[in-house]
Homo-oligomer: 334 residues x 2
Amino acid sequence: MEDISKSDKYIYILRRRKRMATIVSPQHFSPVEDAENIKKACQGWGTDEKAIISILGHRNLFQRKLIRQAYQEIYHEDLLHQLKSELSGDFERAICLWVLDPPERDAHLANLALQKPVPDCKVLVEIACMRSPEDLLATRRAYRCLYKRSLEEDLASRTTGDIRKLLVATASAYKYHGEEIDETLAHSEAAILHDEILGKAVDHEETIRVISTRSSVQLCAILNRYKDIYGRSITKDILSHPSNEYLSALRAAIRCIKNPNRYYAKVLRNAINTVGTDEDALTRVIVTRAEKDLKKITELYHKRNNESLDQAIARETSRDYKAFLLALLGHGGI
Amino acid sequence: MEDISKSDKYIYILRRRKRMATIVSPQHFSPVEDAENIKKACQGWGTDEKAIISILGHRNLFQRKLIRQAYQEIYHEDLLHQLKSELSGDFERAICLWVLDPPERDAHLANLALQKPVPDCKVLVEIACMRSPEDLLATRRAYRCLYKRSLEEDLASRTTGDIRKLLVATASAYKYHGEEIDETLAHSEAAILHDEILGKAVDHEETIRVISTRSSVQLCAILNRYKDIYGRSITKDILSHPSNEYLSALRAAIRCIKNPNRYYAKVLRNAINTVGTDEDALTRVIVTRAEKDLKKITELYHKRNNESLDQAIARETSRDYKAFLLALLGHGGI
């Protein structure tokens, strides 16, 4: 059964996360003291952003949760509202995302992506394809609570055509999360993908079915078989078509499934290389991965670029926003 | 927020269920004694089916769960396996379904429907459209545990075309479950449904989107607007097309959403009127609804037919199977 040794698995995941996380948090801390110090930093003339960063930039998920609770109990106010009213710009957006619980945060990011004049499909694909089935479910639950509609409902009404099919199917999935692989099926479905992507298929129904329903380990097996049989990766074959929004989302989905860390390293690179820097993407990746696998992502980033992520961020960003991102990357702190 | 007064709502639902349920269960009972008496009934020459019915036919969900636990602890055997090895035919299938937890039961029913040479789409629609979002989710979780694949994965690989779109979308949804209605949207989406169903649409993409993503109260508003504006119900308009598998599943989905009790009364009527009786359908409805709204369903059944459901069952079924169904309908017991 899938549930056997769930607690062992959980401990293993926690340990692995700690190794791959970048943030540095103290073992002992006082939520009440932290809440009081944040309040102090918000009072009087101007705000003491440095103090806020030195606290929140060095507290893990559980600690931030306790600080938010303590803040609510002492001041009868949501810490998030306080921060929103005191801070501004990229720094405000980054620290508010950081204070949110991961499911709330993903729901918020998905909603922002859907609110744009042209929905930001890559963010939506990232959330749908990169999270574990349970995390995605928690995000859908948070979305329902926050917006009184379901995530798939908004996805389906804000997009159309193939991109809608892909987004709704991947975001609605509650995939099998075990380790079992069906090799025969991997073989036959690699052929199905090849036929649809390089053949003259009128639509990509089978491709979308496979990508959105097969478990991540099964999908990796399919993608490996694809390369074994046809000598090229599926992402390269997708590039042989004239690009469009759907194909680029499909490619993003496959890259998220195949190698999440490499995908994120590329998002960071694009965000930094864009003229003027894409702060939203930068914030999104750093905030959502700092407690998960940002160490691995920064290593990949360094290997593929001529500088470390820290150097790039120090060059491209400024002031409190820069200080906060660097704190999440492990600078300063205890 | 959706979660406010959840416990009040829960108590209300429990009370309402008790009023609408048919089974009769004692307030006081001993799970150990029940487990021992079931064991006794299974030992020696032949099985004492009457004893088994007199116990399990009169225990509610919570009580059955405790009996199954007690049985496991005392005899180191799953009660379900014991019953399967002792009993046979329709009676065995009915009592095993009854002993299963509702999410496991629905997962099992969905899997059975998918295993058929031609998948039984009506059963699948029923599960996808009739359960609350949380119950459907619990079913998907149970499906993943039992079959090591996701429900939508099997639905997508065992069906094709429009019926696949409808089934996968409705089964994957995690709908908003609150009371809020958007009347303007109801109006405009009623028009969308009308255009696709009576117009010359090449596909039903919007219809499937609306049915599978809008909340049940919103869908009822849409169906009401439809009738107000066009003077006929959407289910009647669907009937104006030559019937096919997809249209009949779509019609079933809409009827499930609109009036679950009436839908079930009709399923029972069809099951009883089929030559030889459709025992699977009969069992499914009685077992899944006996603790929920079977009283209401039997009232509707009686109104629409010239006899009570109890009379029809007494006539069409026999022996232990008959005795068990009648027990679930409230006969005998304490």
